[in-house]
Amino acid sequence: MKRFGLAALCGVIFGLGLISGGMTDPETIQSFLMPGRDWNPSLMVVLGGAVCVTFAGLRLQKRMVRPWYDARFHLPGKTRIDAHLVLGSILFGIGWGLIGLCPGPAIAAILFGGAKALLFLVSMGAGIALFHGVFSRDPG
């Protein structure tokens, strides 16, 4: 229960960060991706700030033997740079560039994003399912 509460709290903090940074509005994202007169560097500032805070958090994490409410830390173990990583990132980038929504903000926007944001979320789910359908026999 404590574990669930902490996870929920982290989700709320992350969501508030995305909203106050303007990251839930696809227009902010698109104006970052479009270099020119109306270029908006918000995304770079929010992402850069988040990286700095996370970097500090990770220093703290390295001093801990185990997390508060779990037996061990779950850190990504893959180090290989392969075709899946590159191709997947490019496909992700095309979709992200088209609309300006990525998974975090799309989930945050469930209650206020309207029909199109929901349609995006459902399509995203379909894309995830499609990937697992296609690659279920061959875990990348």
Binding site: L33, T79, G100, I110, F112, L119, F120
Partner: protein
């Protein structure tokens, strides 16, 4: 989902969110984002925030790839916007 409610409660209005693209652009974009983030094992938060903070070379490559693809797509989409916003 809780954060926007809190935001609404404190500020009195919902966060802004504008999607100008029609549904036939929204659907393939969503599918690409879902498929791509699964294939690359991460998205803007996973590789962009966590991966870069961990100084992971894998994430640096991922961020470079999706940023480049997104900027190229956004520029192309901008030039095509007149075509799909036309009634």
């Amino acid at each position: 989902m809780v954060a926007p409610l809190l935001w609404r409660g404190i500020s009195g209005h919902w966060p802004p969110l504008t999607i100008r693209e029609p549904w036939f652009v929204v659907v393939p974009a969503g599918v690409l984002v879902g498929f791509g983030s699964q294939m690359a094992c991460g998205c803007t938060s996973g590789h962009g925030v966590m991966g870069l903070a961990r100084l992971s070379p894998r994430s640096l490559v991922a961020v470079g790839c999706f940023m480049t693809a997104a900027i190229a797509t956004a520029i192309c989409a901008h030039h095509m916007a007149g075509w799909w916003t036309r009634p």
